[in-house]
Amino acid sequence: MKKRLLIANRSEIAIRIIRAAHKLGMLAVVFQSDRELDALYLNYADEIIPARDAGNDKPIFLDPERIVNLALEHNIDLVHPGYGFLSENPDFAQLCVDNGINFIGPSPQLIRDMGLKTVAKSMAIKAGLPLVPGSDGPVNDAEAAKAFADKIGYPVILKASAGGGGRGMRIVEKPETIERNFKSASDEALAAFGNGDMFIEKYLQNPKHLEFQIMGDKHGNVVHLGERECSLQRKHQKIMEEAPSASVTPAMRKEMGDMAVKFAQSIGYYSAGTIEFIMDEDGSYFFMEMNTRIQVEHPVTEMITGVDLVDWQIRVALGEELTLKQEDIQIKGWAIECRVNTEDPQNRFSPQTGFIDKIHFPHGDGIRIETGVQSGSVVTPYFDSMISKIIVHGENRADVIEKTLKALYEFSLIGMKTTVPFCRTVLQHPEFINATYTTRWVDTVFTPEMLENDDDELIGALAATIMYASEYLQLSSDLPTYKNDNLNVWILNKRLNY
């Protein structure tokens, strides 16, 4: 009998997982949320479970008990959580395991450990991973903070140990201001969280975000599949990713990759995972955290390695041994992913909702489209603004930049604004082209005017004029003295010639 795989997710990743399930001869089962009754992914599934979540305060994808209950009702063998939602919720993973459902991901305990920053960091230290220099625990007072900062060098960042949302956080550029900043941040933290304890850490001004993809099985085998660079972020969320990274030399790749593998092995990790590093301008790098899910940007790694990560996630969950050997994993060419979010890059990336009148994707060699929508789809305010991903594979970095730019010019969406023009701007910017861009690029370099260009402006002027003129000339032609035909003669001629 065919195995039944339930996807506790929606949109493009649901379709991606359905594809993987079918490749392994499984039946793909999905939920239909009342918040999105006509979602595209439903068309691809073998079986649909109506979630009837309209009256609930959260959609089905965030409701562990209901997911597991429905899974049991529908004789589900495996659950794939995708990314986001409950993908890194250890209680959900545990609930699946307790009910005899195979959760596709690492063990619930490891999800829990990696989710707690302090635990993850101490495990990383044990495995010999470098961490951003900082105090191991809270520093006692302003003087101790100053002494510590003098030792590790400025700038430093002061963080409230109970902090969040930027409160009780200060970036200190020079020794003269550290005492004052320490006091104000500590007071702020005390007032906000009832705890004035402060940590101190070296502050990286222009960091790059790098991450290593690893894949492990339940038999202790772990390989890495190279790195991705995800420095291009807005609101601390990734928007474009590339693999490999131009900032990682083959020697560094080996060093960091071995480190990632060693870390994963030391904690007994299996399934797909990502080890995130932050890299300073001088090339020094530090462990940040580990993600225990499949990531949005996994296709860039698949493009350059030829390895199907979701396929392996499922096979590992079934207990299969990895047949991938580290020495067999070769990086071929370069890949870029552009996220298509319904956001307005001309207005601080504010989300857009509405109706997609028409969407057209680029096609061609080396272009991969992952989409959760089609023409006629509705973008609701209930879920994430990412509707599609455009992934392009080229021979080398210059080639893939050129190919991606062309592909993005082929993309069109009528009805809403998207991040595609932003991605086009990035691809043409010198700091992207020479690969010196950092996570601060959007905040410090990008301005909405950079989205504009002279050719688009001229065509816009022409289009506006034609719309205006056709009315204007229509009016004039109603006058008895008007001697010309309608404007559309040019337009019709052009269309016939085309």
Binding site: K417, A461, L462, A463, A469, V489
Partner: protein, 182 residues
């Protein structure tokens, strides 16, 4: 054959699109050839038209345009996903609003005056016609020679002060022209 001029007579086909940032496009839409933008005929192909959506091909690229909003003569157009806001004027409303030739009450250097005394033989254009720089507007006979008098700018004929057969003095005002070159 004489010179082929880009502007044809019909001034009702000339429009001005002004952007918020002050940039201005003069767009002439001929009946059966490509549009003339700021005096240059552009090889732009009109490939799609559907309600509020146009697509053009130009310089080997596809341009998707979508009318986002429209309020009287103001329009927001999305081109390849980026919004541009324009206000649109016909040539006549543009002139009426005094946007061209702000000093038109004073002496306009684009106006045509008689370079010598003589007799108007013929006038080739009519009021309201578009004229190209260097294009002959009238013929003036002086000392038994016929001289063609040409426009010194691209513009629109606002007023014709003389008639064929009329004798004129040197420096007499013949034709008033509003320049569309800015």
């Amino acid at each position: 054959m004489g010179t082929s001029y880009i502007y044809k007579r019909d001034a009702s086909r000339l429009f001005i699109a002004l952007r918020e940032n002050g940039k201005r496009y003069k767009i002439y839409i001929p009946k059966e050839s490509s549009p003339v933008i700021d005096g240059v005929e552009q090889d732009i192909d009109f490939v799609e038209q559907e309600d509020f959506h146009y697509a053009f091909d130009w310089k080997g690229k596809r341009f998707h345009c979508e009318l986002v909003s429209r309020d009287q003569n103001k329009a927001i157009i999305k081109v390849n996903g980026v919004e541009y806001k324009f206000s649109l004027e016909s040539l006549f409303s543009y002139i009426r609003h005094g946007m061209i030739d702000k000093d038109s009450n004073q002496i306009n250097e684009n106006n045509i005056v008689a370079p010598m005394p003589g007799k108007i033989v013929d006038i080739f254009l009519a009021e309201g016609d578009l004229v190209n720089a260097g294009e002959a507007i009238l013929s003036l006979e002086a000392m038994k020679m016929q001289n063609e008098i040409s426009a010194n700018c691209n513009g629109v004929i606002r007023k014709i002060r003389v008639q064929p057969g009329q004798s004129v003095m040197k420096d007499e005002l013949l034709i008033e022209i509003s320049s569309i070159d800015v």
